[in-house]
């Protein structure tokens, strides 16, 4: 019951690397912000799955912190883009 977690994480990490391509290509800053936001979401999934894979329950806290905090940096980027900062 360990291997599927790792497989899922592997696919997700590949997806993260694909999102890196959008970060590189993205013509505007907004595209890049979207890419980073996507990576945040994926990272939370990765962290949760890895926590289960390592059988360390306490690792899930990291995922919560991640989910909440990346949101704030996204908001700062959005506020800067909107010219309100």
């Amino acid at each position: 019951m360990i291997e599927p977690w790792y497989a899922a994480v592997f696919v997700l990490v590949i997806l993260v690397c694909l999102a890196l391509a959008r970060l590189f290509l993205g013509p505007t800053a907004a595209d890049r912000a979207v890419a980073v936001d996507t990576v945040n979401t994926l990272s939370v999934a990765v962290l949760i799955l890895l926590g289960v894979a390592y059988q360390q329950i306490i690792f899930i806290d990291v995922a919560i912190v991640y989910a909440v905090l990346s949101f704030v940096s996204t908001l700062y980027i959005a506020k800067y883009l909107g010219g309100e900062l």
Partner: protein, 118 residues
């Protein structure tokens, strides 16, 4: 046993939707449409992976009676809720910022916001 199958099913659904989301991110023409792909599909996919973990935790709790699996499930629920909540608000903020920075939806049939222009 049935829990295992459920977990696997949820995981594969989650992975599928995440993959589609990334494909959309790479494929769609402009920011807003890309945002459609990522916001909805990666959130949905990550929720499903979280659901897999929750089901796993619940099944383990029932079979072993170890209270740490309750912790696992509750924390995962909180993470998933936080994810949904923050993603919705965050993508709204990015969309708003992008529009205010002068980025027009490229292939648009109608743009009412442009006419309103606060």
């Amino acid at each position: 046993m049935i829990a295992d199958i459920l977990v696997l099913a949820c995981l594969s659904i989650g992975i599928l939707f995440n993959t589609l989301g990334i494909v959309g991110l790479l494929r769609f023409p402009d920011v807003y449409t890309r945002m459609h792909a990522t916001t909805k599909m990666t959130t949905f996919g990550s929720m499903f992976t979280a659901l897999a973990v929750i089901i796993f935790g619940g099944a383990q709790f029932i079979s072993t009676g170890d209270s740490q699996y309750v912790t696992l499930s509750t924390h995962t629920i909180i993470a998933a809720l936080a994810l949904a909540f923050t993603n919705a608000v965050g993508s709204h903020a990015i969309a708003r910022g992008a529009h205010r920075s002068g980025l027009k939806p490229a292939p648009a049939v109608v743009d009412r916001l442009e006419e309103w222009a606060p």
